[in-house]
Amino acid sequence: MIKDTNTIEILQPERFDSVGESSGQVKISRRTFVQMLGAGLLITMTEGVSSAQRRRGGGRSIAVAARVHINSDGTITVMTGKVEEGQGSRAELTQAAAEELRVNAGKIRLLMSDSDLTPDDGRTAGSRTTPSTVPAVRQGTATARELLRNLAAEQWKVDTDALNVKDGIITNRKTQKTITYADLARSQNVAEAFKQTVSSDVALTPVEKWQTMGTSVPRPNSRDIVTGAHRYPSDIVRPNMLYGKTLRPPAYRATLESIDLSKAKAMKDVVVVHEGQFVGFAAPTSFRTIQAMEAVAGTARWKTVPQPSSREIFTYLKEHARIGDRSRPRTRGSIDEALANAEKVLSETYHVAYIQHTPMEPRAAVAEWNDGKLTVWAGVDGPHQVRSELVRALGVPSEQVRVIVPDMGSGFGGKHSGEAAEEAARLAKAAGRPVSVRWTRAEEFTWAYFRPAAVIECKGGLDDKGSLTAWDFTSINPGGSAIDTPYNIANTKILSAGSDSPLRQGAYRCLGATANNFARESFMDELAAAAGADPLAFRLAHLENERIRTVLEAAARHFDWPSRKKKVTGELGVGLACGTEKNSVVAACVEVGIDRKRGEIKVHEVCEAFECGPIQNPANLTSQVQGCIIMGMGGALREAMEFENGRILNANFSGYLVPRFEDVPKIDVRLVNKTDIPSAGGGETPIIAIAPAIGNAVFAATGIRLRSMPMQRALQELL
């Protein structure tokens, strides 16, 4: 998560506010603790990364020992607080460590996301793993390598320059004498040396010398995935464990006034917990837990409040827009004058519905208390952050809470919060036994959080030559990601305004960038049409950003834009769009087929070019881009939360349609490897060009402009 004032604050009206509100025990002071790791050496780990450092995604002022451990058998363990949720952080961070330690990636054991054993590298979010944590891991491991080289030099009484390091072996070039990392690790000197702080000016391997980075190293635990050996958070089993469930209100903002729990309490083997608004049950099987919950749910009396529905949501968000006080527009030139003097002025409003991440694995956690210490295995994207959440909610000291995140079943920005962890912890405490809480799909759809809905108002002015002279863009509710126009326009006014969201909203793959880019790139297409210009030429005429030009031209070239445009019919359209966010650039060309009778849009083909600096893992980046394209099609065409008076009406996969095999178009991914800048992440920005490219293709075929996501519904309403 980076600066995005409207979405960084996840609204949490549904938490169990009346209990354990604040413990005041969040420890932010430096603390040091010692852990035993593997077969031997003591690791001294210093915690105490400043929040600014954490935001940058890498604990850097930490001891080398907190990042790297070399065992006497030569095993190398590298530690990171990052989580693997399917975007390739495990492979990428393994490669980073292998590169700097000069070993094969197979030699590295990456220990991830354990708040007791790994440094706080920030959440796995905001595309920060690549630009922040990879450099932090590289600095840590490069410092370790240099310390090992120094130890060898001291031992042989030679200059460090005389020594080569390769494959974990240090060689004296003159004498050909060798010593391995493992040999050195057997001496106490290494433990002493690794107490040093990671050096921030240690030289990192330049791109042109990369051996392991830049190659398609597969996910290191792939075999455990295909054999079913890997245990996801929802798969964790502890001895004597119970299965827990939480009683949910009938609607958002409903409060529990009373409940008669006696029938559940009378059931053998059932644990019942009622703390403030939290009512939970645990039993040896989830079937039994549900029986207990159903036995008493009908006795609950709830106080509800009326709330807006999805039918009126855009009017509601507009009416409640917070324009004026904190949110002020950024301006350049004079927008009023430019619009007044324009030859043509266009003014349109775009809408984006709330959508849900629907990670394949819904929220899950197992909690276990031992002598007052809480250990939680949870599917969340920040173990340290969720530890703080638990500390606040449960009123226990920070050092008494350990959060471990086994590689989990995806997140897409939707797993910042640790609700299941808190529920499991409350139940486990009362039960005196470990408790597993696994949300149902309906719970995930209802009680997690959503990508914000959006209302975006655009005004643009063209001069008599068809050049864009005025740009007025007001974005209500989705947040400020990618809100600035990359186009060269003399007079602009750009505003990101919050609103009063009736649904709990938060981060989602690329945040508000999808909404803002949908409006901008659709509106650019409208302006191009008004100017009588080709959409590609119109964009290029206003685009100075070389990186965006490169991907736009690459996508157009590989798609064969000029000749494909000539083949457009009433049933077949092509469209394109581009954009930039999180220091990466993307452009997409698509072909769609339109079934006018059924009002259906079928995406036939997508050619997308993407550039995020030097490519760290081509196969993984390809997966990320392919995944973004298809996921983006879901929000573009069909996905939308339907709700009424605080109730979600389509909290399942039959009412909320995500992309399936049948929806997959022909996909041509073109990765641009730009090696003269630092690498940026690739898991988010490739999603932002797809929706506007589809809308623009529908316009090319039909002359109908779809200004509302999801567009499938919008087309059916218009036809």
């Binding site: 975007q87 792939s222 394949m360 694995e361 997966s623 996921m631 399942n652 039959s654 996909i667």
Partner: protein, 160 residues
């Protein structure tokens, strides 16, 4: 009322005492701690819970455990033979057709059932057969490639 039910899971006979209405998925996961089959939706719409029952693909989340009595259940844990992976497992590795991997067991078993019935499917047949399995990382392109690769291997085995 609890019933005694016998499941032959990955070649081993297991007896459980369970309410017969519980789902096969819950019994495998909670009673037998076989966690390869995943919960994804609970309504048979995502395929994450897929197992093979007497060789046929079965959605274990909507199958009452009583229907599995005396049946042979294959989960992802039982697909490899010793250390030798099933060719579909290998194809998923070779194509890197894994992102978060949570849908992978269901994808692999569904594909295994397909190739059992139709060793040389067309792309259309693969799409139709696999359409009940959701991958939210949207790794469909590589999963398709993996299934094609495994299918080609079967064809090669059959045509020396």
């Amino acid at each position: 009322m609890a019933a005694t039910i016998t499941l032959i899971v990955n070649g081993t006979e297991k007896t459980v005492v369970s309410d017969p209405e519980r789902s096969l998925l819950d019994v495998l996961r909670e009673d037998l701690h076989i966690t390869g089959p995943k919960y994804g939706c609970g309504e048979g719409r995502c395929g994450a819970c897929t197992v093979l029952m007497n060789g046929k693909r079965t959605l274990s989340c909507t199958t009452p455990v009583s229907l599995a009595n005396r049946k042979k259940i294959t989960t992802i844990e039982g697909l490899a033979e010793g250390n030798s992976l099933h060719r579909i497992q290998q194809a998923f590795l070779d194509e890197g057709a894994i992102q978060c991997g949570y849908c992978t067991p269901g994808m692999i078993l569904t594909a295994a059932a397909l190739l059992n019935e139709n060793p040389n499917p067309t792309d259309e047949q693969i799409v139709e057969w696999m359409d009940g399995n959701i991958c939210r990382c949207n790794g469909y392109t590589k999963i398709m490639k993996a299934i094609r690769r495994a299918a080609v291997q079967i064809a090669e085995v059959k045509l020396p």
